[in-house]
Symmetry: D2
Subunit: 101 residues, 4 copies
């Protein structure tokens, strides 16, 4: 199965400056070689389900080296179609958008 | 409180072509005048908490005109800071990204 | 539309002892008179969509009295059917569970 | 790292009777031997992060045998503490609940 998964993860025990920790996870995602896209509330990753899950786990394990508590959400759309869905999903909505009122 | 909220919503009773329904919600978000950003797994909306919640509810009510079952997720980061966080949150992570290996 | 919504919310600027803040939100949910159920990862609320959304907003506003940053997730199943879905949804799965291997 | 993870997953191409598919996932979770708790909006699983992730992936792979599109959300709280958090997290909130008004 091909996955587009949005990952959000951050420590709960390091105060409210979360971006250094998010950046560590994003670096792991980028270095995985999978397609990805950074967004305001999470990072979307695209690839075979097993590879995407392995990257999510690697991100969580990296934070747990120095964080005692980590919060994580994943939201994924699994399909037989792929690759290229990261862009195709957005384009498909944009094409159907009614003109602004 | 200022909110950056990511909304995903789609019908559960209309088959797997979801983009026409997502596009209706995105049109409502766009017409609200709030800042927003379309992504592969949801649409981020930025604004005062009460206004963002009102837009989320308007999207759900619009789909319920012709859908008997709707699934909805919201993930929000509420802060005293704003506006401009939609871009600032991404920039803050990008600035801290280690160089690619 | 009738909603079953699971709410998770907690401050990001108060350390990792989150239960006092969660308890404040749960008290607001309980005092709303809507049906609810506490779980390990969130609290499910059942009622008309507008009332459920109002309770979610009241919880977020209560935390923002003394928290500078709050994280919130909502996952909702909207349906024309109701009330009683909080129990019916679990029962419906349990009835279909294959015997343990 | 010890995880309490709530999993929701269902097909997007099989109409709105989702409970037979949810029951298949719950059977896999139960047969894994990990502690779990069924709820109205998802199933909470408790165990070492790697084992919990493996069960989530097994559930998704099982549905993909006959579903062409699957939606999945995971919300997890990772901690050095455990086991027993499935019950402890709820108890900790209940103990702090203000008396009903």
């Amino acid at each position: 199965m091909h996955a587009v998964a949005e990952l959000s993860l951050f420590p709960l025990d390091k105060g409210s400056s979360l971006s250094p920790y998010v950046a560590r996870a994003v670096a792991i995602i980028r270095d995985s070689g999978l397609a990805f896209e950074l967004g305001p509330m999470g990072t979307c990753i695209e690839g075979p389900l097993a590879q995407v899950m392995a990257v999510v786990q690697a991100c969580a394990e990296d934070l747990s080296r120095d964080c005692d508590r980590v919060y994580l959400t994943v939201k994924a759309d699994l399909s037989r179609k792929g690759p290229g869905r990261l862009a195709a999903k957005v384009r498909s909505v944009e094409e159907k958008l009614a003109p602004a009122r």
